[in-house]
Subunit: 320 residues, 2 copies
């Protein structure tokens, strides 16, 4: 099953010809979650063929323009496309006022409801859960209130080995119990352990998202052991002081977060437009955490089971 | 001298993978005027290398999102780039409230002043004038107040023939008078007519912009004899009824406007996303007005002196 991140925008506040501001689509088993929504998100969604009607909810890290200004156009377009199911946006609760005020000026009558779920600025909190997934928000530290997000698969029931069902003639009722973790006792009284009867389900995967933030080790408990961490890396090490003053991170600081939280792989994004390429920024991070990659707009990262996973550039021919 | 239109966005309300919402840059002698500012305008400006610091003013036809939503990001970016000279926006006076309300929510401290010049909904009006150019606004008809714009070069002084200055030994003071249209009387009392002494300056060029609007022949006096008319053509003839209901035009109606206002050339844009290509829409217009062209994002149209002018596709290698 799919668990992948599509990068729609990888610039910081000033976009460049090749990098749009922050926006990402996390595809978890064909549930599409939009994470941040900078200007032009709907154009990038068209370009990289993200199905508009499959976006169920939006997660906004903080109320700075380069993470929000795409909402107005996207919300309008979803209405033009006739959406009827409600759209939930997880964000600073102030976003409600922003949207109310905005749509008050334009003659938009939306075909669907928008639900704003205000995030907790004090502590980590479960904000969404379904059969497959749990999403938590947690506070980071920037010039305005900001949240990171942690998406984790739920552990799925182990699969029954078919030959065991036939061999022991196990009833449907007992199969259910075995899937939930129990063993099985035969009519003769022999106990067959759970592990003999089942193929273990995959280890749940997880993705953590941290932007924008000053270097903030207090967030490590919220992202620990993630399969993939996206962390902002606005600056090279030479601009460490600027990073501190503007409440951003260098790539080394992002790498230190990855190392100390024991994540498997690190994605860097949200780059300052001052850099022509990301080579230096990347090599500085890899000194600390070798499994580091810099993102590009259109990059599709598949989070796979097992010790490593591929990351692929998105092809315009492909569907997400 | 340059008089050209660069198309940044050619879609109507729903953008497509290849068409952004409305935005255009008119370059008049290296003065850059932005006309409408849909979402992603700043990205298109980067892509097609429009110099951010040379945009002196912005003209907004009406307060619908696909003509306005790019303002927030562009205004922020100009500030990030350290702009100090004020930026004038000609628009519905309500835009001031939209921007005040908007920037109230975001922690933007702009480095420059924004001046909103409210347009007159009753009648044609000169809204801008300098040594080279006059800009007028005039009312069109849509679901909300909407204005067209007419940009015209001023007639420049005729050029003195150098050999005449030498031959008649004409003083600087007299040269000035001749440039302004007078003749010259020699010391011997012979009158030399103005036409003999000068090379006539070029005929002033003009560009008219009409979107969004229902078919509105009342606007013909405001656009008459323009060298180039941009007119919305949201629909094909088969969707004439939809056009009427949504206060838009078919390409035939746009062509009829061009024919009856005696313009030289017609550009069609603001296309509904329902059409895969513009062939039918174009051929329907050409039945009425042969000198019609459909625009694409990135198209650069040079308005030249003389009976005809070239239109060229913009190359990313080129500067505007």
């Amino acid at each position: 099953v799919v668990f992948s991140l599509l990068v729609l925008g990888s610039s910081s506040v000033l976009p460049t010809a090749k990098r749009y501001p922050s926006a990402h689509v996390l595809n978890v088993h064909e549930r599409f979650f939009l994470i941040d929504c900078g200007e032009g998100t709907q154009h990038q969604m068209r370009k990289f063929r993200v199905p508009f009607n499959k976006i169920t909810s939006i997660f906004i890290s903080h109320l700075h323009g380069d993470h929000v200004f795409g909402l107005f156009g996207l919300i309008s377009s979803l209405s033009m496309l006739g959406r009827t199911k409600s759209l939930t946006i997880y964000a600073d609760k102030k976003l409600k006022d922003v949207l109310d005020s905005h749509f008050n000026f334009f003659d938009n009558r939306l075909t669907y409801d928008i639900i704003i779920e205000g995030l907790n600025p004090e502590k980590e909190e479960i904000i969404y859960t379904d059969k497959l997934l749990t999403v938590k928000s947690f506070p980071l530290k920037h010039r305005v209130p900001v949240w990171g997000f942690h998406f984790s698969e739920k552990k799925q029931p182990d699969k029954m080995k078919k030959e065991m069902i036939d061999f022991y003639k196990i009833s449907i009722k007992d199969i259910q119990k075995i899937k939930e973790g129990e063993g099985f006792t035969t009519n003769e009284g022999t106990f067959i352990p759970h592990e003999t009867l089942t193929i273990p389900s995959n280890k749940p995967r997880s993705f953590a998202y941290c932007t924008d933030t000053i270097f903030h080790p207090e967030a490590i408990p919220y992202i620990v052991d993630a399969d993939l961490l996206y962390h902002e890396a606005t600056f090279e090490e030479q601009h460490k002081q600027v990073a501190k003053e503007t409440y951003h991170c260098t790539s080394k600081q992002a790498a230190s977060m990855a190392l100390n939280s024991n994540v498997k792989q690190l994605l860097l994004g949200h780059f300052s437009s001052r850099y022509k390429n990301m080579k230096k920024l990347l090599s500085e991070a890899r000194e600390i955490f070798p499994e580091t990659y810099t993102v590009e707009d259109g990059m599709l990262v598949e989070i796979k089971h097992g010790p490593s996973f591929a990351h692929t550039y998105f092809s315009e021919e492909l569907n997400v």
